[in-house]
């Protein structure tokens, strides 16, 4: 299993009204040192692949086809091996520490 983090950002030439609005909000809070804010999307894709090369090729393909619009956006992919999902027969997942998590 691999875990890909995909960072999608507007190209530098594309205006980012949300980023400008956030910058204005930071200035209003007194963070005067902020000179620029660019907003974007962060996606985490977990996938099955034989090796890192195959995983990267697949994430590249899915990002250029769907996750990013190359007319307006750039992207960066960070890939790392991921633990097999809980309940996987091939590799038992490490026991979770009691009391951690707490999500519902």
């Amino acid at each position: 299993m691999y875990r890909a983090e995909v960072f999608v950002t507007l190209k530098p030439v594309v205006n980012d009204p949300a980023g400008l609005t956030i910058k204005g909000g930071l200035h209003a809070l007194g963070f005067d040192s902020v000179t620029d804010v660019r907003s974007g999307k962060y996606l985490v894709v977990t996938l099955d692949a034989a090796d890192e090369g195959e995983a990267r090729a697949r994430v590249e393909a899915m990002t250029s086809q769907l996750l990013a619009n190359e007319v307006i956006e750039d992207y960066r992919i960070e890939l790392q091996p991921a633990a097999d999902p809980i309940g996987s027969a091939s590799s038992p997942s490490p026991a979770r520490g009691g009391g951690q998590g707490g999500g519902s």
Partner: protein, 233 residues
Amino acid sequence: MNTGIVVFPGTWSDRDCAHAVGEVLGQPARYVDHREENLDDLDLVILPGGFSYGDYLRCGAIARFAPVMEAVVDFANRGGLVLGICNGFQILQEARLLPGALLRNASCEFRCEWVNLRVEQSESAFTLDCRPGQVLRIPISHGEGNFFADPHTLNAIERNGQVVFRYCAPDGRVTAESNPNGSLSNIAGIANARGNVVGMMPHPERACEDLLGGSDGLAVFRSAIHALARVSV
């Protein structure tokens, strides 16, 4: 004019389009499910406004891969008339049937108001009944209609006469004040090079009866009827 109105999950202007084409203009119209794959019975395909697939990821990004879109691309490439309104315009760009992209409005506000549009050319299938310079009053209703294209693409569509509508003042002057969303060069609608595919952010289907505030939108649909008559002669 056999008209198909595509309905994706989250489309919201399909019934308005059917009312305008079917009831007001008396043309045969049917809804096209997003899973359909055959559009052979149609002369005109409308991709209406709305929030297809919740606008998740990007407006139109998921709709672009719905089964019906392969048929829409084939239909357009064969010369069939395709009109994308609002979310439909976004979908046509995601499908690369039209150039550029639509960004979040410069104001970061959802804008729902009547605007004035200057008709830039009367060669497209949806402006045949208009004259260049004519001003149409049609409402907008969107949060992401800020037209963007890189300088090379923008030059190309300007040079080829693919800009169909620009936001303007009531007297037709293209001004910064009349631009509701920050669109480059006040662009409100564009055509493909062939002129059979048009995308526009304003909603002509909501301006087809005086009772509802105006009927300038009829020119868009009547143009399509005449474009088809011209082809079949």
